[in-house]
């Protein structure tokens, strides 16, 4: 092999190596500070590749399924029995859920509870997946043209898969919950334990508890907490599992490797107007402040002190329609 390689000794490089290395370092720093430059290029490249990806998606998905099902050929009968049993059990649970949903709706009406925010959903198809050392992502065939925006949650039929982090005109990139850069606030039922779920490129993200005095149990349900207003609360995520070293991880409900059609949730919580700074808690609650007793005439030899004018009491009036829309 060495004989075949005739080595050119002279390199008429236009840019010296040192300058190119310096440029690369600047690029790393620039990419860290101005990530939008690279993101726009990526989104544009993906938009260009989208027709090709859509064409090859079906055969690749078929091959993928075929590869994945090789190991299941010999257990089809047992799986069929198990699925039938599970299906019967789930039908019972479905009836229970319908009854409970109606009951919760009645209770909410009685209590004048604030209804859950309405969410628009965009159904998208997975046209690409990438598993790189520093990124685990999937590409969907819906983008800004379908009103998909960065930050929106992506779900499959079982649970949450990840969040949109980059949108092109016709495509969008999803950062998976297992990715190294994924962090979402979650709640662990039934005790409403608040935690942060952090991906580390393994199949089961790490659960970092906010409080270290609580104890969890394997099998506890993990849902999104909605903290920060980026994600809606209550999205099913997974179940708690021990990591074998005293910590906890999450067994995800969704299977990002096999999902073909997903939903993108358009969740936008209207911003809450902060209370006026001069407003006291009692005023904010709608209670009128009591007027101070009138000063005695003899006790007012000089000008009376200026009393700050209380802010007008605003009863819990709904925000304007524009605010609600926002």
């Amino acid at each position: 092999m060495a004989n075949a390689w005739k080595i050119a000794r002279k390199s008429n490089a236009q840019l010296p190596l040192v300058i190119v290395i310096a440029l690369a370092v600047v690029l790393v720093l620039l990419g860290k500070a101005q990530i939008g430059l690279f993101d726009r290029a990526r989104a544009h490249a993906t938009d260009l590749m989208a027709p090709l990806l859509e064409k090859v998606r079906a055969p690749v998905a078929g091959f993928d399924r075929w590869i994945g099902s090789i190991g299941e050929i010999f257990s089809v009968y047992e799986q069929n029995l198990k699925l039938k049993e599970e299906n019967a059990r789930l039908r019972q649970w479905r009836n229970v859920a319908i009854v409970l949903q109606g009951r919760v709706g009645r209770y909410q009406a009685l209590l004048h509870a604030v209804p859950d925010p309405q969410m628009n959903r965009v159904l998208a198809r997975v046209i690409g997946r990438a598993s790189r050392p520093f990124l685990q992502t999937m590409i969907l065939d819906a983008g800004r043209g379908n009103k998909v925006l960065p930050g929106q949650a992506v779900m499959d039929a079982r649970g949450m898969i990840g969040r949109v982090y980059l949108t092109g005109q016709r495509t969008s990139w999803v950062i998976l919950l297992t990715d190294l850069n994924s962090r979402i606030p979650v709640t662990v039922a039934p005790r409403n334990v608040q935690a942060m779920m952090t991906g580390d490129n393994t199949a089961n993200p790490v659960l970092n508890l906010v409080s270290h005095t609580v104890t969890l149990h394997a099998g506890d349900q993990v849902t999104s907490s909605g903290d920060g207003g980026l994600l809606p609360a209550g999205l099913p995520v997974g179940t708690v599992m021990p990591d074998g070293a005293g910590g906890w991880r999450v067994a995800l409900l969704a299977d990002a490797a096999s999902s073909q059609d997903v939903e993108i949730l358009n969740f936008s919580k209207p911003p809450e107007a902060p209370p006026a700074t001069a407003q006291l808690p009692a005023e904010a609650a709608g209670l009128k402040p009591q007027a101070p007793p009138p000063p005695a005439a003899a006790a007012a030899p000089v000008a009376a002190p200026v009393k700050p004018k209380p802010a007008p009491v605003t009863p819990a009036a709904p925000a304007s329609a524009e605010d609600v829309d926002r």
Binding site: V28, L30, D64, A130, S131, P133, Q136, N201, S258
Partner: protein, 183 residues
């Protein structure tokens, strides 16, 4: 003299042929980063773009210049979707290593040649990992990236070296050829 000039001087497609190493690198970046997973994401995609950089850095550094390595690294960065600039820096540093040790790398044959490429690929992966780890270390609350995925990427890159190198060598012999000074 005139006839000798005609035989030695490359054809009129000289400039087009001179872009073949760069185009091969870009093609490798595109192929490796097509977001299609045949095995359900079990194994990462190989760094196919590194093969042309390594090969032509050894045999035709006049065509595979540091700037071309920078361009190919940028393409790898844009298409892979990872942190920006990581592979650009890794490719350029690997180019510098291979260029400095050109005699050692080019003298390898057979299995040793594969091991030589494996060393260069390991250096590239290590540079990429340490850059990401440095950023993670400087970011409060961030975790260090796991080592297993980058080792998987290295293994896949080395595994795909033999067929990629065959294709690159074929292109080199058929189209590019040795530089004039070495013929």
């Amino acid at each position: 003299m005139a006839s000798l000039e005609r035989t030695v001087t490359p054809s009129r497609f000289r400039y087009l042929i001179a872009t073949i190493p760069a185009l091969c690198g870009l093609f490798g970046a595109i192929i490796a980063n097509i977001p299609i997973s045949l095995l359900g994401g079990l194994v990462p995609a190989p760094l196919l773009a590194l093969v042309p950089v390594y090969f032509w850095c050894l045999v035709r550094p006049d065509l595979m210049t540091p700037a071309v390595a920078l361009l190919i690294g940028m393409a790898e960065d844009v298409l892979s979707g990872g942190p920006p600039g990581i592979w650009t820096l890794a490719f350029v540093l690997t180019y510098a290593l291979v260029a400095r040790q050109r005699d050692s790398f080019a003298g390898l044959a057979g299995l040793a040649a594969v091991l030589g490429f494996a060393a260069a690929a390991a250096f590239a992966c290590a540079m990429a990992y340490f850059t990401v780890a440095a950023f993670a270390f400087l970011t409060p609350g961030a975790r260090l990236p796991p080592v297993a995925p980058i080792l998987g990427e290295l293994a896949m890159t080395v595994l795909f070296y033999a067929p990629s190198a065959l294709a690159v060598k074929w292109l080199h012999h058929k189209l590019v050829g040795a530089s004039r000074g070495d013929v």
